[in-house]
């Protein structure tokens, strides 16, 4: 009657259908598919479906999954379902599997993905994001004030540990990047200046470039990837472990307790790292200049001429601002993180991306400002 392997349908008395299962129903075997049975049943409209396992071979979850579908199919259409002639375990498992009614999702719970592209929704989200950031910055400002008044619950031990992580621990990577950036600057300038026979001005370019711009920016980018992401991951994991809930219910402000020590550590260590990075960059530029036939003495002499106190001040000022921005971006992402491993990863990514965007925007703004003021 049908060519399906694994099962055979036959009419029995009283408008019932019996479903005889045969052969092995295990992985890799050529067992029956429910879709085939569904088509067959659709043409018969029985009142009763009796399953018979007299010639059934070995079976595993595949059979159970098949029977569960039969059960649900019959349940939906008011067809009687009978598994009396099946092995004992089958009936028991089916009972367990059908003890709880299937959960049906309500429409509002799952929105189609394209709704997330709705422009109004996107603008609203961006606006909320900005508000949230402002609220966070406000809380940080209040916490800073309380700290200055000596009322904040900020632990000095935490501050010291974070200083170590944001300072000495970062020496290696900052050294490497700043020497290389100094060399890159020198190469870039040397090639252009050589055309005018003015190679000696490479020293000016490197000194001013490193002190005002590249030293602080490269350090900030490294710290955003290194420390900003770490802050987001730490705070995100704390959110997952309900540590932040615990801190809040103890009556301690998480901003004072968790964010302040991190932010202060970064604000204290970044200027030091920046000065260090700038000096190493100038040394790196000197190496390249040496290779271009400029003696060390000439280079130092020229560098001294280019050196001005205002350049250092500009670099230091930027480093304070950048440190605060990195810390705010990292801590905000961490504190607002969701409570799963995926969410913590997302928080870390968000921390680095926002920090770098903040850095570049702030750098441009500060440069324009100083240009206007004439520093």
């Amino acid at each position: 009657m049908n060519n399906n392997t694994g099962f055979q349908l036959s009419d029995n008395d009283q408008n019932g259908v019996s479903l005889a299962l045969s052969g092995d129903w295990i992985q890799g075997s050529d067992h029956g598919q429910f879709s085939a049975l569904e088509i067959e049943l659709g043409t018969r409209h029985p009142d009763q479906l009796s399953v018979d396992g007299a010639t059934l071979g070995q079976w595993d979850s595949v059979l159970m999954a098949f029977l569960l579908q039969c059960y649900n199919y019959c349940g939906e259409r008011g067809i009687g379902f009978d598994t009396r002639n099946m092995p004992e375990g089958v009936e028991k498992l089916l009972q367990v599997a059908t003890a709880v009614k299937p959960h049906s999702e309500s429409e509002e719970q799952r929105r189609p993905w394209w709704e997330s592209l709705n422009p109004i929704e996107l603008v609203r989200k961006a606006f909320e994001d900005v508000l949230e950031s402002l609220a966070f910055v406000g809380e940080v400002a209040i916490a800073t004030m309380r700290l200055l008044l000596g009322k904040a619950n900020t632990r000095f031990t935490d501050f010291r540990n974070f200083c170590y992580q944001a300072g000495p621990d970062a020496f290696g990577i900052v050294s490497l990047t700043s020497v290389l950036v100094g060399m890159i600057l020198a190469y870039l300038g040397a090639v252009q200046l050589q055309q005018f026979g003015a190679q000696i001005y490479v020293a000016d370019l490197v000194v001013i470039g490193m002190l005002r711009e590249m030293g602080v920016l490269m350090t900030a980018v490294v710290m955003a990837g290194r420390t900003g992401a770490a802050y987001a991951a730490q705070l995100g994991t704390m959110q997952t472990n309900e540590e932040i809930d615990a801190i809040t219910t103890m009556g301690i402000s998480p901003i004072e307790f968790l964010v302040m020590p991190r932010m202060l550590a970064l604000v204290v260590m970044m200027p030091l790292l920046t000065v260090y990075a700038s000096l190493l960059g100038i040394v790196g530029g000197g190496i390249v200049a040496g290779g271009m036939g400029i003696s060390a003495l000439q280079y130092i002499n020229q560098a001294q001429g280019a050196f001005a106190f205002s350049h250092i001040v500009v670099g230091l000022l930027k480093s304070f601002v950048f440190a605060a921005l990195i810390a705010v971006a990292g801590c905000r992402s961490g504190i607002n993180s969701g409570r799963s491993s995926a969410a913590v990863g997302q928080a870390a990514t968000e921390a680095v991306v926002t920090a770098i965007v903040y850095l570049i925007v702030a750098d441009a703004a500060i440069n324009i400002l100083f240009q206007q003021v004439g520093i």
């Binding site: 595993d60 098949f66 409570r339």
Partner: protein
Amino acid sequence: MEEQREVHIEVRDVTMAYGSFVIQRDLNFNIFRGDIFVIMGGSGCGKSTLLKHMLGLIPPSSGDILYSGESFTRASSQQQEAMRQRWGITYQSGGLFSAMTLAENITLPLQLYTSYSTVDIEEIVAYKLALVGLAGYQAFYPSEISGGMRKRAALARAIALDPEILFFDEPSAGLDPISSRLLDELIVQLKDSIGATVVMVTHELPSIFDIATNSVYLDANTRTMIDYGDPAYLRDNSEQAVVRQFLTRSAASEEDTA
């Protein structure tokens, strides 16, 4: 009496240690096929560590663990892999992959280790979720369901491959008494119908007396196992006062003065 039953897991002279710090020494016991075996003991005695040793996550400092007579500790990594495929495991905090939906969580072992077709896998996933009372929750992420549901979802993943041995680390911790009871019933039903051996770590006394058929008690002070047997029998007849106290929830001082 016990000679007729098949030994499924043998723990032989196992000593567990982190460096020179010994957690438990000279553990020797058998787990029989079809048992619901409970590892008991006070907090910090090394119950979960023993389970991690049995799972091969930590190699024992000395001794051996045998599954159906085959050494796990001395097996090659391929053999260990093959043995692990016959196990289902749930972890203390579930261990569900948070970046995957429940359906994806259960699909993963099926895709990795079986030759079922994609359609079959989808149907089996629906069936496994129905078994633990989560039919229709395929598209949910672990973070979107309650703690009890997560425990059950972890169980569904553990039974995905129709395992011979089920390991549970504190399956009912953090559940209300009713949910915990239902989970116990589910474990017994699943065990009976798929014929698995169950090894679990738990503190829950009701659960221990309801479903356990055999147990071992690890003592934190003497750092070894001090009793072995059916917990209901041990409660009344254990020669160790600590074990009787543990199983009757009585304070140590009462027994000491008694």
